[in-house]
């Protein structure tokens, strides 16, 4: 009797272990996916970077060809374009996003919140190609009419990208403001501080690490965005001399040229992807550092 029970429990144990093993594999797949992506991007991009040397990042002449020796491989203007577009979008999106987060966490009545939260989720769900389309038929003609030029420009990408990063900034900032201990707020109000004084001198400083993290992640979103930028930025490989001039970014240039690139040219595009990947890793690391910092 005892033997039989033991046997049965051992069989059950084997089944349990198999299930646990399968589930473990599922969980580890997220890690495996990253290594797979790194392996393939770097295996194609790294040899190219090593061959091209630092000129790849510092030269301004981008004349790709299929053979390495015939082409000119400088992505400096594209890199600068990515940075201009990203920082502009952050500059516009941060004040609006953080203010909206404070509103959502501290001021909005429940009924308003019930409308605003799903709206922000919808804003996050709108496909980037639809943002690009909206930019192309509304923002670009407006810029063309108001300021001249082609309309497809740095400014157009700022407008569209600042809208696209709003959900990232708002949702993470809102969470971090909500996570501020109740006692902070109650203490401040009990000391006679007004609602605005409490928000400004207690809530925002206490939530600052999360707010900073949200902005860094918004930067990641902006620098990695492809379709919308591709459609409204104009994609000229030169450093723009005004905010109404066209600009190109790493993402847009990869999307544009992958369709026909071969040989060294394709490797160069993978090297650009590698640069993007490294930038995103640094930003993610910074965001983690920021959100781990505790206010004392």
């Amino acid at each position: 009797m005892a033997v039989r029970t033991l046997k049965r429990s051992r069989i059950k144990d084997a089944k349990g272990t198999t299930i646990e093993l399968i589930l473990l594999l599922c969980a580890v797949s997220a890690v495996a996916a990253i290594f797979l992506i790194i392996w393939f991007i770097f295996s194609e991009g790294l040899p190219f970077v090593l061959e091209a040397g630092p000129q790849f990042l510092t030269s301004s002449i981008w004349l790709p060809t299929d053979s390495f020796s015939d082409g000119s491989w400088g992505i400096f203007p594209i890199l600068v374009g990515s940075l201009i577009v990203t920082f502009g979008a952050i500059g516009i999106g941060t004040p609006l996003g953080v203010a909206c987060a404070v509103f959502l966490a501290e001021i909005a009545p429940p009924a308003v919140r019930r409308v605003l939260v799903p709206s922000i989720n919808a804003l996050a769900g709108v496909p980037s190609v639809v943002y690009g389309f909206f930019g192309l038929v509304v923002i670009v003609p407006w810029i063309r009419g108001q300021f001249g030029g082609f309309g497809t420009s740095v400014f157009a990408s700022w407008v569209i990208l600042s809208i696209m990063i709003l959900p990232t900034i708002i949702s993470i900032s809102t969470d971090s403001i909500r996570a501020v201990p109740r006692e902070y707020k109650e203490g401040s109000l009990a000391m006679g501080a007004t609602q605005w004084q409490t928000i400004r001198s207690v809530m925002i400083p206490a939530a600052s690490s999360g707010i900073i993290a949200s902005v860094i992640l918004g930067m990641g979103r902006a620098i990695g965005e492809t379709m919308a930028v591709l459609m409204v930025a104009g994609n000229a490989v030169s450093i723009p001399n005004s905010i109404f001039a066209p600009v190109s970014t790493l993402t847009a240039q990869i999307a544009l040229e992958m369709g026909y690139a071969a040989g060294a040219h394709r490797q160069a595009l993978f090297a650009m992807g590698m640069v993007l990947f490294v930038v995103i890793m640094i930003l993610t690391g910074l965001a983690n550092l920021a959100s781990r910092r505790r206010v004392t």
């Binding site: 349990g16 299930i19 399968i22 589930l23 473990l24 599922c26 969980a27 580890v28 797949s29 997220a30 890690v31 996916a33 990253i34 992506i37 393939f40 194609e44 004040p95 609006l96 203010a99 909206c100 404070v102 509103f103 001021i107 909005a108 308003v112 939260v117 799903p118 709206s119 922000i120 989720n121 919808a122 804003l123 769900g125 709108v126 496909p127 190609v129 639809v130 389309f133 909206f134 192309l136 809208i163 709003l166 007004t194 609602q195 605005w196 990695g224 965005e225 492809t226 379709m227 459609m231 993402t251 990869i254 999307a255 992958m258 993978f270 992807g273 990947f277 995103i280 993610t284 983690n288």
Partner: protein, 282 residues
């Protein structure tokens, strides 16, 4: 709370920012829907697109392609992400492995879609060409699975985390094995949250373009199998605009995409509210 006069300005600005955000969304949606919805009819949804270079026609083959890539990505990433979330929440404590995997999911979610597309191109289109048919909806869907996975994994894990410990203990106390407790008590309780994660992943897959551009092939013909190249709606929207400036087809396609995204937002919002209410009722 009485508001002092000199504080009216900052508070009004905060209200304005909330309203502005809502206003931006409404303007974009209203603009696309107002221009696109009148074009969306049964014929638009079920007719084949016109041949290359001509405007007009329907978007039937692109809807099929979207369903195909989305289906492939969910079929692959769905079970893996839910299984992974179950492992993280039910089989591990707050430890090193768990932190690593959560971090990995976060990084994976942050990788730009064009970079995932480059990877998908090299891995699925070139390296695994004999098995994926090269540029195909299968390659596109498998690439998208890498983007759906972290979204669904995180949401499922959050959902499982909110299942009260008493439910697990009660089930185990009645003699259920761990796996029985998971399948009969834990997962059913967390199901609305898990489904929400899958639907959010679905939304990501429907809306994705850059990764699809490099992997799915972009052929306008109706696909016969998963090994055929296809052109999902997002890519079609981009192509009709840049190749031959067919704004009317673009409006119609964008309107269909927007409706899909709005439906997803409403369903997930409703599911999450129901779920939170249900847990509160316990």
């Amino acid at each position: 709370m009485p508001v002092k006069r000199r504080e009216m300005v900052p508070l009004a600005l905060l209200w304005a920012s909330g309203i502005a955000t809502l206003f931006i969304l409404i303007v974009i949606l209203a603009f696309i829907l107002a221009n696109g919805l009148p074009l969306v009819n049964w014929n638009f949804l079920t007719a084949e697109p016109s041949v290359w270079g001509q405007t007009g026609g329907g978007i039937y083959s692109t809807i099929v392609a979207t369903l195909a890539v989305t289906g492939v990505s969910l079929a692959v990433a769905g079970p893996i992400s839910v299984g992974g979330a179950i492992y993280l929440n039910e089989y591990t404590k707050e430890n090193f492995l768990r932190r690593i995997i959560r971090q990995a999911a976060e990084i994976l979610a942050g990788i730009p879609s064009i970079v995932v597309g480059l990877f998908g191109f090299l891995f699925f289109v070139i390296y695994l060409a004999p098995y994926t048919g090269g540029w195909s909806v299968l390659s596109g869907g498998l690439t998208l699975a890498f983007m759906v996975l972290p979204i669904s994994l995180r949401t499922s894990e959050e959902a499982l985390k909110t299942v009260p410990a008493e439910l697990r203990e009660g089930s185990l106390g009645l003699g259920a094995t761990k796996w029985q407790a998971i399948t009969t008590v834990v997962v059913p309780t967390a199901l609305p949250g898990i489904v929400t994660g899958l639907i959010l992943g679905l939304g990501r897959a429907i809306g994705e373009t850059a990764a699809i551009l490099l992997t799915a092939g972009g052929a306008l013909n109706l696909i016969n199998s998963l090994y055929d190249p296809g052109r999902p709606m997002t890519l079609h929207l981009y192509d009709v605009l840049t190749e031959y400036r067919d704004t009317s087809t673009a409006y119609g396609t964008a309107a269909v995409l927007i409706i899909a995204i709005l439906a997803i937002t409403f369903i997930t919002d409703w599911l999450m509210n129901r779920y939170t209410n249900k847990l509160k009722g316990l």
